[in-house]
């Protein structure tokens, strides 16, 4: 919402400075977004008299002028056809910046004649697009006077950002009222007395709605004015409109725009001679169309309110008038409309038609329902004053919508809600200054909000009014009472695990990314997603239309971007949501990552190697270990989803059914579809599936007692020949089971196939650590365990010791 200081002062009697006013506006919730002081912009430019204008000796279309600024005389070469001796224009001195072109003006020689300065056009002054000649000021403009003051451009423009509840401040008067209530002056009276009608309006008005929809157009006030003269509006009015960025059109149109901004009261003026029969507010009929004032044709439907005559719709209620019955310079008889339209319906209609207008902006925020008749009187007075004519009596259909309500206020709630107190008298005074009627009934105040404050809903709103006009600076800063000396942990187990997984993965050298929750639909489909119920109706772009079924596609796309930027080695992870269904249960938290390229850069000491599926397995295990899960009990099984390489992937399970993680190399088909050069390895850890830790025996944090053997541990190595396809885990499990007391650890230190190993076989070399608990092992005992190990391996998977 824009207005000028002088405009504000036409409603507010105040001695406050601009700075005081803008500070107060922000302090009471009418946030100042900017102040444009055009006087500063126009400071170098003055009114100048053209003393002489003679033909340029070397150019037909140029004139050499002698320009007097009241102090000095300058020679200026000017190309404008209207430059002539005796005229008054706007002089721009050398060194000034021309507002319309942003050019720094320099002394010049034009076709051999010196030119020191410039006479400016409206376009050059940044006022309009007019550039056919230089500005021709009235003869009484004082020579040497600042251009800005002569043109009324020295009036600062204030722009405020209004919250949607303050429709009352979409008129300058509403802003003035708030400032007056805040102690910054007095609201000037506004003459809303009835203008006597000279005749009965030949055009009648009717609101034709089903009774339950009467709010669509609750009240319609009309008046016929005959014998008006429509021409350009007076300078002061044009300047005000221009100052806030509106284009003056004609007196009648300018009046409606002015009252819209001045009083927040949109109006419409019909050319009465183009109206056929009476005027009716009704719902549009299917198939009806309207060519609106913006030059576009709109198709209307039965939810939209229109103002129609016998020929059909003439305007879209509260949104925009029609081209056909609009005023033109030839208009001599008018019909003024001042009505109240339902905010919700106006908003819906405006949205459907895609029309943003000053009228819609106000109607959808609720125009003052108590000011409909008054608005007509103000409008009539202004039409009579600027265009003359003779007014009819008003014609009215419908009635003022019921806006009256009573809200109870306990004055103690001020301190209770905002933390500072004011005497009851002061609270009452503030409310009354805003136009609220206040009655004291015992300890409670009975408050009736004025018609222009439909946003007041309850006690808390009244507290806000009092607090905001007194000033939020009075709110004390008090710390919350401490609930206990040392607070309890803020995070749940699940939240803690998200944090642990994140730091564990980063500690393994993976870089955390945050990627979008929505991805390209085709990418989602590759990962089991892309179902219609998870496709956004209104995505920001086609690349971001599907809720991601997995974090991986986003990371793979990121890997591609990094590769395109010259980073071939990528290690990224993300901990975040993925979506299987459009509801709360369909969302799960995953910690997923990818690796690509080499384990590190080429180096004289550390030989890099390509990353592989085992890196992904290690990442997954590290994160699961960080969550506090018994990693040694996890089962490594196949069954990873089909976006993994079927032979180079696996799942980590706790029990055969609970998949805690997938890992492995990504399927080449996926990489091809996403146009990424592989191989890439990946893992996905499903944090929500991790079980609660088993409480320690006896509860609490006690760890189990530590039994340390006093006897020497021994290690023995075994190389087994097994089938090439045998999972190592089968052999390891058999070996571990050979003596559950003595065998503490079994490791694999070599895997080999090839020379010396039969076709279809491989050698697995194990190291077994024996930890005696009772006494030091004798050679015989060690041999006995070794025999058990060999036997168990043979039984379980036909393993034989390598010769």
């Amino acid at each position: 919402m824009k207005f000028t200081l002088a405009w504000l002062k036409s409603h507010l009697d105040t001695a406050a400075t601009l700075e005081q006013i803008t500070e107060k506006l922000t302090a009471i919730g009418l946030e100042v977004e900017g102040v444009t002081d055009r006087a500063a912009l126009y400071a170098p430019f003055v009114v100048a008299e053209v003393k002489k204008a003679e033909q340029h000796p070397n150019a037909d279309k140029l004139r050499v002028c002698e320009v007097f600024t009241g102090k000095e005389t300058f020679q200026v070469v000017c190309g404008a056809p209207n430059a002539r001796a005796g005229m008054k224009g706007v002089f721009a001195p050398v060194g000034s910046t021309i507002p319309g072109t942003q050019m720094l003006l320099k002394a010049a020689t034009i076709r051999g004649v010196a030119s020191n300065g410039m006479l400016c056009s409206e376009r050059e002054m940044g006022l309009t697009d007019e550039h056919t000649g230089i500005i021709d000021l009235p003869q009484d403009a004082p020579t040497g006077a600042p251009f800005a003051s002569v043109m009324g451009l020295d009036d600062p423009v204030i722009e405020i950002k209004l919250t949607p509840n303050r429709g009352d401040c979409l008129g300058v008067r509403g802003i003035a009222r708030d400032l007056a209530a805040a102690g910054l002056g007095t609201l000037k009276p506004l003459d809303t007395s009835a203008v006597a009608g000279a005749f009965k309006s030949p055009i009648g008005v009717h609101c034709v709605f089903p009774p339950e929809e009467a709010r669509a157009c609750a009240i319609f006030v009309g008046r016929h004015v005959k014998g008006v003269k429509n021409g350009p509006s007076p300078l002061w009015l044009q300047q005000r409109l221009k100052a806030i960025g509106l284009r003056p059109i004609s007196a009648l149109v300018d009046i409606t725009n002015f009252i819209t901004y001045d009083l927040g009261r949109p109006l419409h003026v019909f050319d009465a001679d183009k109206v056929k029969g009476d005027i009716v507010a009704r719902f549009a009929k299917p198939g009806e169309k309207l060519l609106a004032l913006d030059g576009r044709e709109y198709a209307l439907d039965g939810t939209m309110t229109v103002i129609a005559d016998a020929a059909g719709p003439e305007s879209i209620a509260g949104i925009m008038g029609g081209e056909h019955s609009g005023c033109t310079p030839e208009t001599t008889n008018v019909f003024i409309e001042c009505a109240w339209f339902d905010p919700v319906r106006t908003a819906a209609t405006g949205r459907k038609l895609g029309i943003h207008s000053d009228a819609r902006h106000r109607f959808e925020r609720t125009v003052d329902p108590g000011f409909v008749r008054s608005g007509m009187e103000v409008a009539t007075r202004m039409v009579l004053a600027l265009c003359g004519g003779s007014p009819s009596e008003v014609v009215v259909a419908g009635e003022e919508p019921d806006w009256k309500k009573t809200v109870a206020l306990r004055p103690s709630r001020l301190k209770g809600l905002v933390g500072f107190d004011l005497p009851v008298e002061r609270q009452v005074e503030i409310l009354q200054s805003l136009g609220f009627a206040v009655e004291r009934t015992g300890a409670t105040l009975s408050v009736r909000p004025p018609s222009w404050r439909p946003d007041i809903d309850g006690e808390a709103d009244l507290v806000e009014e009092i607090a905001r006009l007194h000033g939020f600076d009075a709110i004390p800063a008090e710390p919350l009472p401490q609930l206990r000396a040392v607070p309890l942990p803020a995070v749940s187990l699940a939240q803690r695990r998200v944090r642990l997984a994140r730091r564990a993965l980063a500690a393994r050298g993976l870089v955390e990314a945050v990627t979008y929750s929505f991805i390209r639909r085709t990418d989602a489909a590759l990962f089991g997603g892309g179902q219609p119920e998870l496709i956004l109706v209104n995505p920001i772009s086609a690349d971001m239309d599907a809720m991601r079924p997995s974090i991986l596609p986003g990371l793979i796309a990121a890997a591609k971007r990094n590769m395109d930027r010259g980073n071939a080695d990528v290690a990224l992870f993300e901990v975040g949501p993925q979506y299987a269904a459009p509801n709360a249960d369909g969302q799960m938290t995953a910690a997923s990552g990818i690796r690509r390229g080499q384990s590190g850069p080429r180096h004289w000491r550390d030989r890099p190697r390509p990353v592989d599926a085992y890196d992904a397995k290690a990442d997954a295990l590290a994160a699961l270990a960080a969550l506090g899960l018994p990693v040694e009990q996890l089962m490594v099984m196949d069954g990873a989803p089909d976006w993994y390489h079927p032979g180079r992937s696996g799942t980590l399970r706790l029990g055969p059914k609970t998949v805690l993680a997938n890992f492995g190399e990504l399927h080449p088909r996926i990489l091809q579809a996403m146009d990424v050069k592989g191989p890439l390895v990946a893992f996905e850890i499903f944090l929500d599936r991790a079980p609660q830790p088993r409480a320690a025996k006896g509860g609490g944090r006690t760890k189990p007692a530590l039994k340390l053997s006093e006897f020497q541990a021994v290690e023995r190595d075994f190389a087994f020949i097994v089938d090439a396809a045998l999972p190592a885990e089968t052999l390891l499990k058999a070996v571990r089971g050979a003596d559950k007391v003595l065998i503490a650890r079994v490791g694999v230190f070599d895997v080999f196939a090839g020379q010396g190993i039969p076709e279809g076989k491989k050698s697995l070399a194990l190291t077994v650590r024996l930890e005696p608990q009772q006494q030091t092992l004798t050679d015989a005992e060690i041999d006995s365990v070794a025999q058990k190990i060999v036997a168990a391996a043979g039984r379980a998977c036909g393993a034989v010791l390598r010769g």
């Binding site: 905001r468 600076d473 607070p487 995070v491 730091r503 050298g509 496709i535 990371l555 509801n583």
Partner: protein
């Protein structure tokens, strides 16, 4: 006697002349070895008269002690020289560059780090962390927050919608703020509440300063007596701890949100000296969050009696305060997963924010 003296003098010369441990050992054997002349002389003592023996034994022992000491001295000199010679042959070029370990490349995203920082600070004030789903229903995202159906925020230009559900036609939305978690918290059990809610939020907006996904953190306190002064106090303490300055000044400006009444926008002081923005210093103002007292209508929607319970709520952009604190210029970099960006603005995993050791690095 003279013979011994001569031999001793020869031996001393030999010890001093030994240029290696081996040569020294050879000399030692010649003197003190089983067949050494001194050992032989000592053996001969037995054949002497007691008087003669005493005098000669004393002399021989003196010689033995002296020579033994000289051998040891020479041995240590030679040993030092031998080590010095070995070390001289063993040098490494310590200027050769090492590989930064692959593990050291890991980083935590600024959003995660800042959430951890915020969690620490609010934990100290007795808050717990609450979370909720990204895909929300209309009731939790709008209606229960007193955002009526005709409110502009519900319209297509701001909210991402999913298709109408077949069962009942309801259109789920991507939550436009973290506030639905307020509602879910209030539905889950009786007051009091003291929660903060970090999370992903979505609005259909994409330009220099907006991304269609961003992060918000929401706070909610409901009890019997909490008022706007506590809200101000809480936010001041938060900003002091988060921005690490005691010079925080805060300005509450009246504003409007459907879910709070009264409502305020909050500015924090900042300085822009030399083109560098410093938050919590100086006299300029910078808007950082919106807040207010929970609207009684919202409490009613959640089944809580507004005559008994009251409190405040606030919401703040996590990405934005991360940018302010760490001088990150562009929001879009947050979600681009450019390794160069992540390594520059990210945090090493051991930088775990704690109150005891400082929330920021």
């Amino acid at each position: 006697m003279t013979e011994i003296t001569t031999l001793a003098a020869d031996a001393e010369r030999a010890i001093a002349a030994a240029e290696s441990l081996d040569a020294l050992e050879e000399a030692r054997i010649g003197i003190l070895g089983k067949k050494g002349w001194l050992s032989a002389a000592l053996k001969e003592l037995g054949g002497l008269s007691p008087d003669e023996r005493k005098a000669r034994a004393q002399h021989l022992n003196e010689v033995k002690e002296r020579l033994t000491a000289e051998i040891e001295t020479r041995r240590s000199v030679l040993a030092d020289a031998a080590i010095a010679a070995r070390l001289k042959a063993e040098t490494l070029d310590m200027t050769l560059p090492l590989n930064e370990s692959a593990e050291a490349q890991g980083r935590i995203h600024p959003v995660s780090q800042v959430i951890d920082e915020i969690t620490e600070i609010f934990a100290a004030m007795g808050f717990t962390i609450a979370e909720g789903p990204d895909i929300e229903d209309d009731f939790h995202n709008f209606t229960a927050l007193n955002i009526p159906p005709e409110h502009p925020a519900r319209q297509m230009q701001d909210t991402f919608y999913l298709p109408p559900r077949q069962s009942d036609g309801e259109q789920m939305v991507l939550r436009t703020h973290t506030s639905p978690v307020q509602v879910r918290t209030m539905e889950s059990g009786p007051p009091p509440y003291r929660i903060v809610v970090p999370g992903r939020t979505y609005r259909s907006d994409y330009d220099m300063t907006h991304t269609p996904m961003f992060h918000q953190i929401e706070g909610l306190v409901i009890d019997r007596a909490t008022h706007m002064g506590h809200l101000k106090g809480t936010l001041v303490e938060f900003c002091k701890a988060f921005f690490e300055t005691d010079n925080v000044k805060m300005r509450f400006r009246p504003s409007y949100f459907p879910f709070t009444e009264p409502s305020a926008e909050v500015d924090i002081n900042c300085s822009r000296e030399g083109g560098v923005l410093r938050v919590g210093e100086g006299n300029d103002w910078l808007e950082i969050l919106g807040c207010g007292m929970v609207n009684p209508r919202v409490l009613q929607y959640c089944g809580i009696d507004p005559n008994e319970w009251q409190g405040f709520a606030w919401g703040m952009g996590i990405d934005r305060i991360a940018m302010l604190k760490y001088g990150i210029p562009d929001l879009r970099g947050f979600f681009d997963a450019d390794l160069r960006w992540l390594k520059h603005y990210g945090f090493v995993p051991l930088d775990l924010p704690t109150l005891g050791q400082g929330v920021a690095r």
